[in-house]
Amino acid sequence: MPELTPTGAVDIAQRQVRRVRRRKNLYELQRALYLTVATGAGAAAILLPLALFAPAEVFAIAAWSALLIITGIVLLLAGAARRRWLARHAAVVWIETRGALGGRLRTLLELAARPARTPGFFHALLVAQIGRDLETWTPRRLVPRGVPRVALASAFAATVLLAVVLRLASLAGPATPNLITSDEPGGRAGAPGDTTTGERVVVAPEVPQPGGDHPDPTSDGAGDDDSTLTRLPSALQENVRQQVWGKAWERVRDALARAGTSGGGSRSPDTTTEYGDESGTDADDNEEWEIARAPSGETTRRRRPGIGRQPAARNDEGATDATDATDADAANRPTAGNGESDDGEGGGGAGNGTSPGDLFGAASVAGSPANGSFELSLAARMRADRAGARRGTRSAPNPDPDARPELAANQRRESAAHRMAVPAAYETVVREVFAHHRTESEQP
């Protein structure tokens, strides 16, 4: 190696310091990045099954806990990266320590940075020592690995785990539930909150609460706090299911929506009718007359709107009268499924019927009472089928005089039909659920 001049030694040392610093900081940056990826992927691998299979409450707790833990870990990683990050002024000190240079490098560079001063007796010796030491503190020696292997392996393993979980979860798609209607409070099958992905969904009156409180059927059991923070986990869970299960989850939602619609129907008090999948819903064959009930929590659970279902008209009073004016009005309306409102306002009939986010249009505000509820005229003769209430095509049958209905073994439980306060934002959904739909045979 040719003998270094003092100026040349300083330049070489400064360049090497910059290279060491660049390599070290790149290493630390990669490590923080990989560990962050590993943390995120690991948390996602844990949360994904919970989002798909766990109840909303469990998922909400898990999601918030995971968020807190991930935030903490990311903060720790950021702090560690900040501590390990080599600032310009700290680079030489770090190199001195790691390279066991005994303060030579720092002394040389600091003395070189001083304003013009004649080099001392020992300056040449210091320069020579720095030139001899250059090979002992090369970037590769001080930072042997360009890639943090452990962090990278962690990130890779977590990502693979997430992919495996994702694949398994997509394979374990939900079965479309069978709908079971029951007038028994609390139903006879299935736990009250276990109606989302089970094979059977019981539509039954709610068990009366001692305090008379009734849960909001639209709150999905997540509590009464309707804030954004409360809804976030539910929205995330719904989004995850939609993304992972796709069509299968849409069918489940449709079935649940139908459960919400048929839950208002009144069947024989002591009978529980089990429905299959979408097959066997021939409206004409199963048409019968019944009295529609009030949509309180006593009669329905899990009222979810079905995708593509036609929203109800804003005012469905007189639906059973089937007057000419109504028919004419119905004839002027778009056919079922387009979901557009004829008055141009939001609310019933708004929406295009295809977009999940804007299924029923904007919530109606005008005309909603100040107390947040609205009246539905439901105590009227209507024709219903398994797919939900709709207008009949025949006249009401005469009762069979010889028919002697069996008496119930026990006296039916008297439970008051509570009038539920429905938020105005759900008006369109509720109207859709309790709408009297027309069949194609009724189209003019």
Binding site: G102, G103, T107, L111, F121, F122, A124, L125, L126
Partner: protein, 340 residues
């Protein structure tokens, strides 16, 4: 200057230092650390205050050093009635053969390369102050005439920590002029046995000069200049400055415990001379370690002897039995934490 020459100079310094130390060790049993500190002060160009009980070898150390370096040596026994002129010299009336009388300056014992001021605290402050100018400026002024002292000029003063009656505590200005203060401890039993074995024989060991007589002063000055060439980086200078500032009640900061201790026990901290002493002593340590530059460790090693006699302790410190060295040690710990 080529690296080879610089390396040879460092090796020469190390060799000379080790040779002097070895020669002194022939007659001085034990006190290795004290001897090394005294030699460090000599090559750093400072003076040393030695504190120890009588009969522990203070005078022997100084005399051995002078013999090893082959430099002139004088001793002054400080007493209450000692006058400044007894140290610096005085003018006398000298009658020439022609009968003409004139005032002639007769140099005092201070005109020597090595001066031992034995029990310096027994002299009056007026006499003690006679050393001030000599130690700081290496000259004495008698009757308005300044007389340059010889080079190298090295003062070793001893203090007797017992028999405090009839003594005069050294003024702070005088204390500040000593580069280091060395405490001589009692020898251990094994050392005492060796002392008995070597000093009570018919042929006690003697010190052989390391430097040639005619070149000894020049060689000593050359080595002292070499010490001053050692490189000190700005970060070390900042460390020394911070260390000295930490010893002052107004400058104590950064560490709560040390700050409280310094403010409670220290009335006045170290002066800028203390910082100079730290750097000069650290330079000698660097050369002894074969380095052309000073590091933190060099400063730390020399901090206690360089600073402990510069702290003016409070009554609270005396009541609590806190020694200046304790404060310096705590300040060192705080300074290490601050630099890391």
């Amino acid at each position: 200057m080529t690296p080879a020459v610089a390396t040879a100079a460092i090796e020469d310094f190390q060799h000379t230092f080790a040779a002097v130390r070895a020669e002194m060790a022939r007659v001085v049993i034990g006190h290795e650390q004290a001897i090394e500190t005294i030699l460090t002060a000599f090559f750093a160009g400072g003076h040393v205050l030695i504190e120890g009980v009588p009969g522990i070898g203070k005078t022997l150390i100084v005399r051995s050093l002078a013999e090893a370096l082959n430099l002139s040596f004088n001793r002054i026994q400080f007493t209450v009635d000692l006058m400044p002129a007894d140290i610096t010299g005085t003018r006398i009336i000298n009658e020439s053969p022609s009968g003409r009388r004139e005032l002639v300056f007769v140099p005092g014992p201070i005109f020597a390369h090595l001066l031992l001021g034995d029990e310096i605290n027994r002299a009056t402050p007026k006499t003690q102050s006679a050393l001030l100018e000599a130690m700081a400026e290496q000259q004495v002024t008698v009757a308005g005439t300044s007389h340059r002292l010889v080079s190298p000029f090295f003062v070793l003063a001893t203090l007797n920590p017992i028999e405090m009656e009839g003594t005069y505590q050294l003024p702070e200005a005088q204390l500040d002029r000593f580069l280091f203060k060395v405490l001589l401890e009692y020898p251990s039993e094994s050392e005492l046995v060796r002392i008995l074995g070597t000093t009570t024989t018919a042929d006690p060991p003697t010190v052989r000069p390391v430097l040639a007589a005619e070149r000894a002063p020049a060689r000593a000055e050359e080595l002292k200049r070499l010490v001053r060439e050692v490189l000190v980086a700005p970060h070390v200078e900042h460390y020394v400055a911070g260390l000295v500032r930490l010893t002052t009640p107004a400058g104590a900061r950064g560490d709560g415990e040390v700050e409280v201790d310094v403010r409670r026990y220290v009335t006045y901290g170290a002066s800028p001379r203390g910082a100079q002493a730290l750097v000069l002593g650290a330079k000698v340590r660097a050369l002894l370690d074969g380095r052309p530059h000073v590091t933190y460790d060099d400063v730390d090693k020399i901090a206690v002897p360089a600073l402990r006699h510069r702290l003016v302790m409070s009554f609270a410190a005396e009541a609590a039995g806190v020694a200046p060295a304790d404060i310096v040690e705590r300040v060192l710990l705080a300074a290490r934490r601050l630099r890391s």
